[in-house]
């Protein structure tokens, strides 16, 4: 990480610009939501915008764009683990033998007595 004042001042400009961009993208996210797209498309668009915002935070604010290999390595492992955690339980739950039975929820909702 550069420590000389000139380089830091340049980065300050970048921080402000990224901050502004994040504001704009947030607005876009809410605006797109008002359009009421079909659910799969809505999820895709929302996740794409969120990923772009997240990448900007990670790359610029968290200095990830010029971080060391070791950190990248740890993060790649984590992302792999995260993806496995997102997808595999869902696939496994949906891959069933026979037909799952849906039962109606009761009208009232109270915590169970211990």
């Amino acid at each position: 990480m550069h420590s000389d004042p000139e380089a830091i001042r340049k980065h300050v400009r970048t921080y402000m610009m990224v901050g502004a961009a994040l504001f704009v993208f947030t607005g876009i996210t809410v605006a797109v939501n008002q359009i009421h797209l079909a659910v799969p498309l809505a999820i895709t668009v929302a996740l794409i915008i969120a990923t772009m915002k997240g990448s900007m935070v990670a790359a610029v604010f968290m200095h990830l764009s010029h971080e060391r290999m070791l950190i990248y390595g740890a993060l790649v492992l984590t992302v792999l683990g995260f993806l496995i955690l997102m997808t595999v339980p869902s696939f496994t739950t949906r891959d069933t033998i026979g037909t799952p039975v849906h039962v109606e929820a009761p009208a009232a909702a109270h915590p169970p007595a211990h």
Partner: protein
């Protein structure tokens, strides 16, 4: 006794101990929130219907702006130290703290509003996962505020004694804070919009 590479970077890895440590901690936090997002996916795909419009989108959006702003002030708090500007650093750090506080106050009003209408966690799995995700996120905001308060208060002495180490610690706090912002960047559309 002196632990090497606490402040200066180890030549072959290019890292100080704390930098690696905080990134590893954030890795574990990714898995923690990941488990909750996985829960959301399984519960939502398994549900015949999923509630919409129960949450206040405008309040959520306002909170998103607040958290993004706090991320900017947090990185500026670190940059000010690198520019040797103690006054600016204090200003930015206190701003981050205040913005975080406003976020929590907003969430308090949001929760109170739901409770008044009987929308408790036991009401539906949507509300259950909403409260758990935002609640855990809120606890992380609170944790961040406590750390910031420490560096505004008793921890500030370290700037005189060991300025590089203090700057490093503010950087690590910033990394944690940006992560908390990052989680909200995904939480907001997933819970409020989709």
């Amino acid at each position: 006794m002196n632990i090497p590479y606490t402040v200066e970077e180890r030549p072959d890895t290019g890292l100080a101990n704390g930098k690696l440590g905080i990134w590893l901690f954030l890795a574990s936090e990714v898995m923690l929130f990941g488990a909750l997002f996985s829960t959301y996916i399984i519960l939502r795909t398994g549900a015949p219907e999923w509630p919409h419009g129960e949450l206040n989108v405008w309040l959520g959006m306002a909170n998103t702006f607040i958290l993004i702003a706090s991320s900017v002030t947090m990185v500026m708090a670190w940059a000010s130290l690198k520019l040797n500007d103690w006054g600016k650093h204090r200003l930015y750090l206190i701003s981050t703290f205040v913005l975080a506080g406003i976020f929590l106050v907003n969430k308090y009003f949001e929760y109170a509003d739901h409770f008044r209408r009987g929308e408790l966690p036991s009401h539906s799995t949507f509300l259950a996962i909403y409260y758990t995700l935002t609640g855990l996120h809120g606890i992380h905001i609170l944790g961040g505020m406590i750390v910031m308060a420490y560096f505004m208060g008793p921890g500030a002495k370290m700037w005189k004694a060991s300025p590089d180490q203090f700057a490093n610690r503010i950087e690590y706090t910033g990394l944690y804070w940006h992560f908390v912002d990052l989680v909200w960047i995904f939480l907001f559309p997933v819970l409020y919009l989709l």
